[in-house]
Amino acid sequence: MSVDVAWAVEWVRRSAQTIAEHREELIELDRLIGDGDHGENLDRGFRAVVAKLDALDEPPAQIGDVLKLVATTLMSTVGGAAGPLYGTAYLRAAKATATDELDSAGVVALVEAALDGIVARGKATTGEKTMVDAWSPAAEAAVHAADAGGSPADVLAAAAQAAAEGAQATIPLAATKGRASYLGERSMGHLDPGARSTELLLAEAAAAAA
């Protein structure tokens, strides 16, 4: 499947489904080291996104239109840090995808723009036990896959795989950013909920293109 507007819509719908399915897991992860609202907030946000997609009279013309709808809806409806963080990520990604189809370099640009947005908003870097620890290796892996001549779908698969590994790698870390940082060393041994939700979302980006 080509990475086009239909892909973007499919990615968003799959994202809503996976977040709904993992709602309780995300709540539990966040309850352990945060304020416990991550699963509920993201689920509410993506449900609102799907409702807005369903209400459109005609399909969006560009991938960026789809991602901008996700961005503004998440910002308005999530109600936790994930709202502005993912909202900014999707907004930057939308600006990088003002087209109806992405080649491999275009997919790299999308992932890199999303990472840039999260870093700009959250001012986190790698190793601080945040969603940056999933997005950053995802962007790196996307670059490598594209350089190696991979298809857009290959690039998304590589990004998803790296995000999953990056998320798992947050487990031993002590949080130094976000609500979990108040716990310091007590946050060690737990998977970061934001890295986990990033892993879930990028897995669906790859699945929608497979």
Binding site: D37, G83, G87
Partner: protein
Amino acid sequence: MSAPDADRAFARVALVLVSHSRELAAGTVELAGQMAPGVLLIAVGGTPDGQLGTDFDGIERAFGQATQDGRSAVVLMDLGSAVLTAESVLDLADEDLAARVRLADAPFVEGAVAAAVTAHGGADLDAVLAAAEGAGRMYDGDRPSAAHDASAPPTDDGVVRETRTLLNPMGLHARPAAVISRMLAAYDAKVTVNGVSAASVLALMKLGATQGTELRIEGEGPQAAEAVRVFTTEVERGFGEI
């Protein structure tokens, strides 16, 4: 969000208080408002359905209301997502609004009180922002020195000095501290009490002055004599509390 009474607001700078909690935002507005009547204070607390969280659309509306009629606004936020959401709103706002809104890196309650009292004195945007952000530094270092020699004789250095005993049973708490700070804003004078700036509500409160404390009041500047006189008068009448 509370409904601001825009007709009564006259200070040039409004405050927007963004909290995860509806009660915390509303309570901080109540606290700061008591010390700074006439400053537009807008609470944005919790999610639209009353849960803990932040409300992007509510913050957007509050920024719009706060900057109406040519006012500018200082924004205080409590925790992570309140900061991130306020920043996101500002990123997406039009340039004219964004130029008149400043996000304060300040403790929520103390910063709100300091900013509100400063705004009440007619200060501009930068001064109100500085008051909010300066409130965080109140917790650094020691309390002001109690060893300062209270019996130092007046000198010919142009400093007006008076000493009065604090009569208020509750000490120099928030309300009288705000009265002093507000009152002195009207005078072109730099006034200190026991070595701290009398323009700062938080510095005054941090003195921890209890009933019976000797207050050494010193004023410098063109209107120092008048400023010190109104100050001592207020101390003598117990700030209307006795």
